[in-house]
Subunit: 317 residues, 2 copies
């Protein structure tokens, strides 16, 4: 375990991982949400993906979104791609900062992208060249880094080996995804330590889902292991597609609350995140899963409590 | 930080802290839920409270519930009381194991129980005597141990001092409540360490709410600090009264998942907890907040994922 960092660098992924399974929303609404996200103080935004519009209609407007990004010159934007075709589209649209997904298990890789993990890793070289030639960076996102819905537990050495090979082939940074929300803090600590040993010079990030309630605890474990790049989604947008009402992405506001209250700076204004969450909730038309958002914010219950407590509910503990 | 324990001793609080703000449910339904809870393998159950039936009508049947507890001879039951009157009722009903609430802040104590913290502490001696004379134990539950909705942050030394005095006056064990769900893991570690220094021989427990998403991370911090007594509520029952849909108690199944996956034994069968949660959800007539329960269980999404992944959603990370 390393020293806990004094600050972390959160990436807002609501525009991509959050929206991808929603019904499409208008470009104008997305830009309003981006305005609200920019106002939170976050510095990095995963803004869309360049994938099949048939598979992900909600992000079919990737080119139009990217064309508007000069409105927010202070934000660092990136876009997810699944392969060379998407990478070419992204670069052509003016988005040189790419995230390329490699599934750490063959089962997930074949189901999601019709290729083996090895074939996905081999793709890094070309996509890195595309990003670099356009003045951008390539982040390799290693999905199912801990567990796979098809193949079960992903061996730690396998995930580390994929990470090392991706870096050798040109990836500038790494992100490890707990795609199905099954990992726990101790396993996060173990993987982060092993990856830092293997590629000590490479920035690494983590992407957790809160499907089983452990996501925020995993964030803390990652931060305590020295990770400073944390993915989160405003309002927890990005529900698990497999069960209505199930929680997916960890909520930006809950990460910010945890870290700021723990003395770790995020640079993010929590009340602005809640404003953005309210906007997102209206845009998608359903309740967001974030506990903190549903509670009305970090302090709201304190104020509201007055009346309730004085009504004589004498058993609160 | 001490060594993480090999096992923890969870207390199911759904019957009291979970149900107390719900509309009253029939005694027969409560007994069915208790059957389901007993089947989970949990060993300790906070079964009701002896407080004003006018203030907490959902638990007005405390005597009738306690009269049925011989059905589950292997379970250890306890009941919450707010003062001497409740303690007398509990003992007369045959419940000698008492939990007595002391609010660590005067603001909360006055609002909830119309007495100062000092006055509440002074009450320990008589209630301990009532419990002990009946062959039971007294647990002092220190509410708003970290933060108060009226007085703000509770000074750590104040909480520790209350704990020490409660033990001096006869409390056999302690429980620290994050009543409004604001604390974070580092503050948990600090308080647990200070309490263990002050009263090293006394068993201590923790009671967290997940109102801002940090509850499960706080459990892990407490366990890593050596606490083995953890309160949790099936399905996360016990929503915050201040905001509809807001999450209150941490969910038993999420605690069990976290700990078991972290190699810490709970003795609890997760699938049985989900069965109990389903029963509770039907009984209270509204959705429970637990992420894991809403996701359909620990493994369900893996199975359900097959179809979805093969439908070509190529961007999951």
């Amino acid at each position: 375990m390393t020293t806990t960092p004094a600050s972390i660098d959160l990436r807002e992924v609501g525009m991509r991982d959050g929206l991808q399974l929603e019904a499409p929303i208008p470009l104008e609404t997305k830009l309003e949400i981006l305005d609200a996200i920019a106002a939170t103080g976050v510095r990095r935004v995963e803004v869309t993906s360049f994938v099949s519009p048939a598979a992900v209609p909600a992000l079919a407007d990737a080119e139009q979104v990217v064309a508007e990004l000069q409105r927010w010159p202070d934000l660092h934007f990136s876009a997810l791609v699944a392969g060379r075709g998407g990478a070419r589209r992204a670069v052509a649209a003016g988005m040189p900062h790419l995230e390329y997904v490699i599934s750490a298990s063959d089962g997930h890789s074949l189901a999601n992208a019709r290729r083996t993990t090895d074939e996905a890793v081999d793709g890094v070289a070309d996509i890195a060249a595309l990003a670099h030639d356009a003045g951008g960076r390539l982040e390799a996102i290693i999905a199912v880094a801990w567990d796979c819905p098809f193949d079960g537990r992903t061996p730690l050495r396998r995930t580390v080996d994929i990470a090392r090979r991706a870096v050798e082939l040109g990836a500038d940074q790494l992100c490890f995804g707990d795609t199905i929300g099954t990992t726990v803090p101790g396993r996060v600590t173990d993987l982060v330590a092993a990856v830092r040993d293997a590629v000590p010079e490479v920035p690494i990030g983590v992407h957790f889902h809160n499907t089983r309630g452990s996501g925020i605890a995993c964030v803390l474990a990652a931060v305590q292991a020295g990770v400073v790049q944390i993915d989160a989604s405003v309002g927890g947008l990005g529900g698990c597609p497999f069960a209505p009402g199930a929680s997916g992405n960890i909520a930006t506001e809950e990460v910010v609350y945890l870290l700021e209250e723990s003395g770790i700076a995020t640079g993010i204004d929590l009340s602005r995140v809640l404003d953005a969450a309210a906007l997102v909730e209206r845009a998608v038309g359903h309740e967001l899963p974030s506990n903190l958002y549903r509670a009305g914010g970090p302090n709201q219950p304190r104020g509201r409590r007055d009346a309730s407590a004085q009504n004589g509910a004498t058993t609160r503990s």
